[in-house]
């Protein structure tokens, strides 16, 4: 395609929006767990993968529509998050204060072990083959842009969920407590925020978002037990570009990543998709060398 046609194509813009909205949802869950507990969940993408399998089996074995399965999968994801917090991660962190360096390194290795286990258990249980199913693939035309029903549904659900979580964080008491812990942990503890409750609920909310993102992924494209990690990487890019606890900026960063990926692939070739993704990832980290922790500290 000539350069200008690519830039003005509504088709590509729509594709970028769909990818971006999915990335936003993935990054949201990652951001909540990192924000409240300073834990980089490298297994986050693998939870997305498990959500995709749950939707796949529900649809192919029981004929349950992914739209109906979505809330159930999100709920199971949340329960899993709660259980993991209580079982593994609670003992890593104390009350008000976090020895950031130690917790970050140890939790990273724990999540890393978890990620290896999830990928390979999934491969053992479901075979390493790619899976996909057909759902809502009727074509809708608006202007000169043709969209399939499943893509519209993904954009709508991911977008609405992000808005709902944003409203929860800015309007409800529990959400404000969560933001307080993200921004000033010690201060939140002193003024009586139940930090433990904030932590388990952000784990649950984060894992629930990952499960939901998995259902949406399964509606879009084929996936395998090893499809999760690229989503973890995409989530990290969004967090690094967007900002900790800054949801609006995170949303914009996710859309930007969707645009970079979609247009980059359209302008070059599909072989370069991973090169692009990791290129942006490395670039973002090198430009913000100390991540967001340092930026937050700088603001204080």
């Amino acid at each position: 395609m000539p350069f200008l046609d690519v830039l003005t194509s509504g088709q590509l813009l729509f594709a970028a929006l769909v990818t971006g909205s999915l990335y936003a949802l993935v990054a949201l869950g990652l951001n909540l767990v990192y924000g409240t507990m300073r834990m980089l969940n490298v297994a986050h993408g693998d939870l997305v993968m498990l959500g995709a399998y749950a939707a796949y089996w529900a649809f192919t074995l029981a004929g349950v529509s992914p739209l109906a399965a979505a809330p159930v999968v999100a709920g199971v994801g949340a329960a899993l998050g709660y259980a993991l917090y209580r079982g593994l991660f609670q003992r890593l962190i104390g009350g008000a204060q976090i020895d950031a360096g130690r917790v970050e390194a140890n939790s990273l290795l724990l999540f890393f072990g978890l990620s290896i286990i999830l990928q390979n258990v999934a491969a053992l249980a479901f075979t390493p083959n790619n899976r996909a199913y057909q759902y809502l693939d009727n074509v809708v035309r608006i202007g000169n842009v043709s969209m399939t029903g499943n893509r519209i549904a993904v954009l709508a659900i991911a977008g609405l969920t992000c808005i709902a979580v944003a409203l929860f964080l800015s309007r409800s008491v529990a959400g404000l407590a969560m933001r307080a812990v993200i921004e000033r942990r010690e201060a939140a503890y002193i003024v009586g925020v139940d930090v433990d409750r904030v932590q388990w609920s952000s784990f649950a909310l984060g894992f629930g978002c990952a499960g939901l993102a998995g259902v949406l992924l399964s509606m879009l494209e084929q996936f395998s037990p090893f499809s999760g990690f690229p989503f973890t990487v995409a989530g990290f890019i969004v967090i690094i570009l967007g900002g900790l606890g800054n949801l609006l900026a995170g949303l914009l960063a996710a859309l930007l990543l969707g645009v970079i990926e979609t247009y980059g692939v359209a302008l070059t070739s599909a072989n370069l998709r991973s090169v692009l993704l990791y290129g942006v990832f490395v670039g973002a980290l090198v430009l913000f060398p100390n991540g967001l922790l340092a930026r937050l500290k700088g603001r204080r």
């Binding site: 290795l109 290896i116 286990i117 990928q119 390979n120 258990v121 090169v275 990791y278 100390n290 991540g291």
Partner: protein
């Protein structure tokens, strides 16, 4: 007491080295292959420790040096003398570390961990894209030297990596690295040239895996980019170092032997199950045995009788 234990260590290490040295004289190809694998992991893990254990900058991208070294040897196959190509593989890996070191080592903590992974994957996918653009999906190597030559080359690399880590660990440079691991700002204030030290440690830790990759490329007649840049290699190295524990060249040896035996039993027969076990071991060691097998041995040495002996002195 301490002297007794360290002489026991030296004895065990010397016996192990002597055993590995004479192994090709009586072992069949399978046994020599296992020995080669053990030596490869020793070389990779000890060289990883030069940066990651000494400075606390945990690299999840050690495989990038291995892959670059292997790639160089395969690309220059039968155009450059092999010995030269393998030395070149080490130099290429070291040069790559020197090139990316400054920006990458500014990134700290968990961000460095995921960045090192990202750099390795970026290099892997870039080379893959370049190879497929050039129309070569895989390459075939004819006329590689026989297993014995590969084995002794790897033996030399394993010894070199162990001596390198021992030398760094005991030197003034090594103490500087440890001080910046504990507190980078404090170390800098005390006059440790942290930027130079980190970069030097990174470059030193890169050269040996480059040569290891170059030697291992000769082991199979078939070359695939994805295989020599497999993130599994980095993961295994970290697992071996964590399982081994300790703060010098001994711990990794324990970790390598433990995990190499496990992987020999399982990896070829049930790779997925092996990975599940590897992940579980990682979790158990982080939660319960953060100082690894070396820490466990040291704790045993500090048991009541040992403490009493020390008190009596």
């Amino acid at each position: 007491m301490a002297r007794l234990r360290s002489s026991a260590w030296i004895l065990a290490a010397a016996a192990g080295a002597a055993f590995l040295l004479v192994l090709p004289l009586f072992g069949n190809d399978y046994v020599v292959g296992v020995g080669l694998t053990v030596l490869m992991w020793i070389a990779l893990t000890q060289s990883w420790c030069v940066l990651s254990k000494m400075t606390g900058y945990i690299s999840l991208g050690h495989v990038v040096f291995y892959g670059l070294g292997a790639y160089l040897v395969v690309v220059t196959w039968q155009q450059v003398p092999l010995a030269l190509a393998i030395v070149g593989a080490g130099l290429l890996a070291a040069a790559f570390a020197a090139l990316v070191g400054l920006p990458v080592l500014r990134v700290r903590g968990p961000y460095f961990v995921i960045l090192s992974f990202g750099v390795a994957e970026l290099v892997k996918f870039s080379i893959m894209a370049a190879e497929s653009a050039g129309g070569t999906a895989s390459r075939i190597l004819f006329g590689a030297p026989d297993l014995g030559v590969i084995y002794f080359a790897m033996f030399a690399l394993a010894v070199a990596a162990t001596l390198l880590l021992m030398g760094v660990s005991r030197s003034r440079f090594g103490h500087g690295l440890r001080s910046l691991r504990e507190n980078e700002e404090a170390a800098e204030t005390l006059g440790v040239p942290i930027v130079r030290y980190k970069l030097l440690a990174f470059v030193l830790s890169a050269a040996i895996p480059g040569m290891v990759g170059g030697v291992m490329a000769l082991r199979s007649t078939y070359f695939v980019v994805g295989q020599v840049f497999d993130p599994m290699i980095s993961i295994t190295v970290i697992a071996m170092a964590i399982i081994g524990g300790g703060d010098d060249a001994r711990g990794p040896l324990l970790g390598v032997v433990f995990l190499a035996l496990l992987s020999e039993l399982l990896w070829s027969r049930a790779p997925l199950l092996y990975m599940v076990i590897l992940g579980s071991i990682l979790i158990v060691f982080v939660l319960i045995l953060p100082n690894g097998l070396a820490g466990l041995l040291a704790r045993q040495a500090r048991s009541p009788t040992a403490v009493a002996a020390k008190a009596a002195r």
